[in-house]
């Protein structure tokens, strides 16, 4: 078992190194560092300012081979080596747009992001699983059909519409919560997060509920459920002790992979509700030609994705004795 996970982590590391190479090609070879520098300091800046900016942002070295250096320096004193070193040690440097340290921006953005994504994730999961279990229990009745139609309806509306409608209805007409904005003060922060979380839960509800319902129905049809009934289990016990316990395995694989992404925030929700989180930071970086920030965010995304895959495998093995015990 331990050997399996070590190998799994080894593959993860190799994948990550590959991702870094791809990022290098994208951000240093396809996008020319000279272009980035010229855009940042302006076309008519003096050559010293231009050179200084490149030095400050670590764009002042040759790409792959440093012909000016000797020994190992020919390969280590290059943009490629620098790129790997910085990313692997989480030394992300400064924003190309406003010179602020990226790690500080990350720290500042993490809390507002988690403030949205964690409640959204937990509430979405609990609501969808509970509703799915409920309709699976009432399968083939009108309750089941009504909920299914509701799911289809909520799915066929675009996510953007929920944001706009939510802001209009709850924020403007009912005035329960602010339309957008953020205040980290713990006394009022929930007021700013409530609406985006609500909108997020609603827009994910239909697809998730249908997905979990399918899983539950598949389990309900299995032979061991009939065995459980034959020994005298009641409906509720059958659903929770037998169906839910078995359905947990496919549900886990779907859910655990999402957990790492809670850290990267919610792009759409954050930028529309004016929450200064990491999702908003990413959108800002795209709009402002902030390549160093963007590169950091893409890298972190890949890192979290790989972590999610490994976590999924581990939780899968823990939940399913057939995997755990081989």
């Amino acid at each position: 078992m331990a050997a399996y996970f070590l190998r799994r982590i080894g593959y993860g590391v190799i994948t990550l190194l590959g991702v870094l190479l791809l990022l290098f090609v994208l951000f240093f070879a396809v996008t020319d560092p000279d272009d980035i520098a010229r855009k940042a300091v302006g076309e008519r800046a003096r050559p010293e300012v231009y050179a200084q900016w490149k030095t400050n942002h670590g764009y002042d070295k040759p790409l792959i081979i440093n012909t000016g250096a000797t020994g190992a320096g020919r390969f280590t004193d290059t943009l490629l080596a620098e790129h790997y070193r910085r990313m692997l040690t989480f030394d992300f440097g400064r924003s190309d747009a406003d010179d602020s340290p990226i790690s500080r921006r990350l720290r500042e953005g993490a809390l507002p992001s988690l403030g949205i994504t964690v409640p959204l994730f937990v509430m979405g999961l609990v609501v969808s699983v509970a509703v799915a279990l409920f309709v699976a229990f009432f399968r083939e009745t009108y309750i089941d059909r009504v909920v299914l139609v509701l799911c289809m309806l909520t799915m066929s509306v675009a996510g953007l519409l929920y944001i706009i409608a939510g802001q209009y209805l709850v924020g403007q007409l009912l005035r329960w919560f602010p339309i957008s904005g953020f205040d980290p003060n713990p006394a009022v922060v929930a007021r700013f997060l409530a609406l985006p979380v609500l909108v997020g839960v609603l827009s994910g509800f239909g697809a998730d509920t249908r997905f979990y319902r399918t899983i539950f129905l598949e389990e309900i049809g299995r032979d061991y459920v009939r065995t459980a009934r034959a020994k005298g289990c009641g409906d509720a016990r059958v659903m929770v002790r037998h169906v839910l316990r078995n359905a947990l395995i496919p549900i886990l694989t779907n859910v655990v992979v999402q957990i790492p992404f809670l850290f990267t925030g919610a792009l759409l929700l954050e930028s529309f509700f004016g929450i200064p989180g990491l999702g908003a930071l990413t959108v800002e970086a795209i709009q402002g030609n902030d390549f160093s920030t963007l590169r950091t965010m893409v890298y972190l995304g890949a890192l979290l994705f790989i972590a999610g895959q490994i976590l999924t495998d581990i939780s899968y093995a823990l939940a399913d004795p057939r995997v755990r015990l081989g």
């Binding site: 083939e140 032979d223 065995t227 034959a230 020994k231 289990c233 316990r245």
Partner: protein, 327 residues
Amino acid sequence: MSAPLLAVENLSISFPGEAGPVRVVDRVSLSIARGETLALVGESGSGKSMTALAMMRLVPKPGRIQPGAHIAFEGRDLLSLSVPDMRAVRGAGIGMIFQEPMTSLNPVTTVGDQVLEAIELHAKLSRAQARSHVIELFGLVGIPDAKHRFGAYPHQLSGGLKQRVMIAMAMAMRPRLLIADEPTTALDATIRAQILELLRDLSAKTETAVLLITHDFGVVNEVADRVAVMYAGEIVEEGSRGELLGHPRHPYTQGLLRSIPKAEARGHRLEEIKGSVPRPGHWPTGCRFHPRCPHAFAPCPGTEPQRTTVSATQAACCHLLDRSVEP
């Protein structure tokens, strides 16, 4: 004569079809005495499993037991019991085991806990007491190293051992009736014989009545006291084992018996019943067996044969036996 342990009367089961409900079991009546083993035989699709599931009120949705049926178990009508009362019958009064030991156990729970649950549901025992009862049961059904096997998961056991776990589960509360739906079909020959022997010994030792569903007349010959033959949703013949195997009166029973491979007939082609079982909703009029029957004559396609008693214990539904019909 004392009242039978179980008496099924006029049981019909239907599933919704495109053109209204379709019957899969049609006016079945049968009874089982205390301690008796009744074998229910018939080709695939004749409605044996549905009949058995109806006795547990476990007919799968959207199937329905038609009004007018009665299933009396120990004098109580199961079909009019409240849901909690019916739950108390399942597992305690009637135990059930199924054909597929591979899929009939919960894959993520240890087999010990699954048998334990069958006890916990019906008896107020401490966990330790229930646990030692389970280990005792495992020994009883011939699971070696019972203490150690308590914590095993189903995938760690062979098919034969899994079926023994199922038997332990079904027998945990000493039910008066055990329903075994093709308990040996999925097992290979040597294991099949062992499981059959276990069932026979257990039912004799505990005086449990058994409803044994099977395709296999070898199994019937070994364990049954009485036999009922089902065809297209109906019971077409019933009688004691000796009567049915020695003097079958219904052409369908005769055909089934002729299609058993016999040792002395090795090398000969088996005499199969021609054609196949009609699907529910497509049952022929009159006698449902007449299109496949070698003895079919004038009344068969038009008139439904009545049940005719041949002896105190044997009866069959066939025009050949009915003296009121002119040949």
